[in-house]
Symmetry: C2
Subunit: 481 residues, 2 copies
Amino acid sequence: MSNGNENFVREITPQSQDYSQWYLDVIKKAELVDYAPVKGCMVIRPYGYAIWENMKLGLDRRIKETGHENAYFPLFIPESLLQKEADHVEGFAPEVAWVTKGGQEELSEKLAIRPTSEAMIGEMYSKWIQSWRDLPVLINQWANVVRWEKSTRPFLRTSEFLWQEGHTAHRTEEGAEEETLKMLDVYRDFVENDMAIPVLKGLKTEKEKFAGALRTYCIEALMSDGRALQAGTSHNLGQHFAEVFDITFLDQDDERKYVWQTSWGVSTRLLGALIMVHGDDRGLQIPPKVAPNQIVMVPIMPKNKQELVKEESQKLYDELKKDFRVKLDDREEQTPGWKFNEWEMRGVPIRLEIGPKDIEKEQVVLVRRDNGEKIFVKRDKLHDKLEEVLADIQDSMYNRAKEYLEDNTRVAKDMDELSSIIEEHKGMVKAHWCGSGNCEEHVKDETKATIRLIPFNPNTGEDCISCGKGDSKEVVFARAY
Amino acid sequence: MSNGNENFVREITPQSQDYSQWYLDVIKKAELVDYAPVKGCMVIRPYGYAIWENMKLGLDRRIKETGHENAYFPLFIPESLLQKEADHVEGFAPEVAWVTKGGQEELSEKLAIRPTSEAMIGEMYSKWIQSWRDLPVLINQWANVVRWEKSTRPFLRTSEFLWQEGHTAHRTEEGAEEETLKMLDVYRDFVENDMAIPVLKGLKTEKEKFAGALRTYCIEALMSDGRALQAGTSHNLGQHFAEVFDITFLDQDDERKYVWQTSWGVSTRLLGALIMVHGDDRGLQIPPKVAPNQIVMVPIMPKNKQELVKEESQKLYDELKKDFRVKLDDREEQTPGWKFNEWEMRGVPIRLEIGPKDIEKEQVVLVRRDNGEKIFVKRDKLHDKLEEVLADIQDSMYNRAKEYLEDNTRVAKDMDELSSIIEEHKGMVKAHWCGSGNCEEHVKDETKATIRLIPFNPNTGEDCISCGKGDSKEVVFARAY
């Protein structure tokens, strides 16, 4: 479904000229997403969805390895259920889509399209959990959710998006805290190792935490324009939902107690991070572990050798597809040069060129998307070489992003310094903060930067950047998506 | 989350006493589903969802092997879009859930929660398809859909359900017809081979076809109470949607033409078929290929040998889990006998018992769920034996169901015969039909049986069972879910 006669690459606005337009151009040209005829909704096209499928595989495996099972809960949440937890409804009500009519009849009670499923799951857990033997309950759900957003942007903020949401119940406070941190680290491991995106881990402030949670932990990534992006959150819900949904169990000591809960989620938003961390002016760059095509083969077919090259390419393709996600682009209506641009724009990690001379020499030409390096590889060494280069690309992409994150993490001693760093470089800025909501708000008003997270074991001792109060904690500020 | 002190098995109503209650008991006791606090919606619990996940794997593989890609389209369909195809809206409007409010604002146009996605996808395809080179478009979606049903039943008919829906566009009428039949056969292959459910293939009547289709093909299965269940449908949409959504392409002859489309789907309804084809008075029976646990290990642990048996069981479990989906049930608070009942009720194909004497003799006891056969197997032969028995159970389950289908497919020469067969046995009944909607309606009024399908290459020549018209086609009648 590519529109064969245009030169897509030239149509991508350079990052330096207009980063935001660059992002939209890449998404559109690489056919990741299209706009739907519904406000704020997107169509995830096959190429974009194939990345999401690979991401799901890697994350689902980790979720199961840590003892969780998948389940499916209803899309609809009755209004009365959503309203049970006061903070929760206050946080979510403004962005809920409501079903008021089923078939021809007006509903007696409005139904919320789930913005998240704590309320529904709380209701079910109160039926399922009776005894300490039933705990922990470790359930995850892959689903669509809806949040009626005013201003939207593909992947980053859409009215409907896809995600997974884990919901667990534990016997003790420690059990819930351990789970919250374990899943945060599962997210870090997945995002760093599969998506090649380095992240910072830490705690959200009271102001930024999930509506209804006791504490929210997060992983934060840095986009190549210097803005931060929340890449995943893990919430210790305490007993807030257990109390309002009456989720209790009979403990070994014969006392009836409330469970301790957690919830945690990542979404298609991560695709936005992938684009903005790795992309460049030529388009996408997709890490090998999640790339729909790890390798694209482009046969070079002069008229008099067309049959030979086609045949040899097909043979090689049949061989490679057993072990790699490989695509053979042998369309005759496009030139090799056009294909090189096209697949670079689509971010395929490795291109293999194969022409009559290569066939003669029993070699192929391997070109890396990440650094442009061109390597001649003998056919009998190709399999090992591909494995080696794919692993190296995965590492290099991570290392480059890590270096960028480190280079763009700065320290500010006072408000002036913070303002000028944010204005000039954006990036992550470490500065001390007293813990008050007023100071948090003040910094935001002055710089448009928010506290992205409070690191684990933060440095302490310096004065608050806003009010000057002593013995404050070092936190991370940034402008964020 | 099982409630340890009850004996579930005794709580299952026998099929012969009340088949419908038996179904609900099994679903509840085996923890496949629970009722949600929303009319007609179900929660698919982890054990039920794990079967669905295995089904998805098997079907998704086949869908991809036949050249399709997955994508994701929005949940919401604007009213104006849904109304474009007249038959389609007439068929679906009565059961649509409508969103009328987003956040605090009333929407200017109501949004349907998708009952199916032809309208949304038609709108997108009209943007994506320009040239004959863009064809065929072969896209599938795994998603939730909503149909506001008056009377519901877990898996079989619920307001929200999970499914996959394929949507393809082709250059020619033949291309679309070929695709429609190919996917019908993919369904047959999947349902017969993975779910061990034999099916009949054929064409739906005009009255029973999909709203907006040119022709609907289906696979039909026979439940163990003698009622038929539509297990999957594949629609040749002709150019109906192409015309109203203006999906055209420039053909090689430089003429602009409408595409030919298909759509096809199967849903969580198939789980209902699995329960009703294979289940018995002891509970579920799950074919090995889709069983969450193919094997359950029950250690027999007398007090003085507890440590030894636990240790050996754990060792064996670690070995087996590399190649099988195996569960070790070493709970100490339950007796082996209780566990035998529990896992039989949950339909696990193979139980392995391991006690002190078995350890001494370097053997385990293998018990089949399908026929109760008990086999002593030497430890060093166990792996091969398990593979062999799992394959044999899969085949036996299919063969038993196939035999049941054959035994319960009868021929009726006239209305009296049809009525008495349906009344006495239910099952599938072959009878001749002239093709008129009136006769179809008449048979339904008299017998509550509908035409399930018109076979490919039907027998012809006999008189219509209803009006007596000569040279009619042999079709299949049944009472259906």
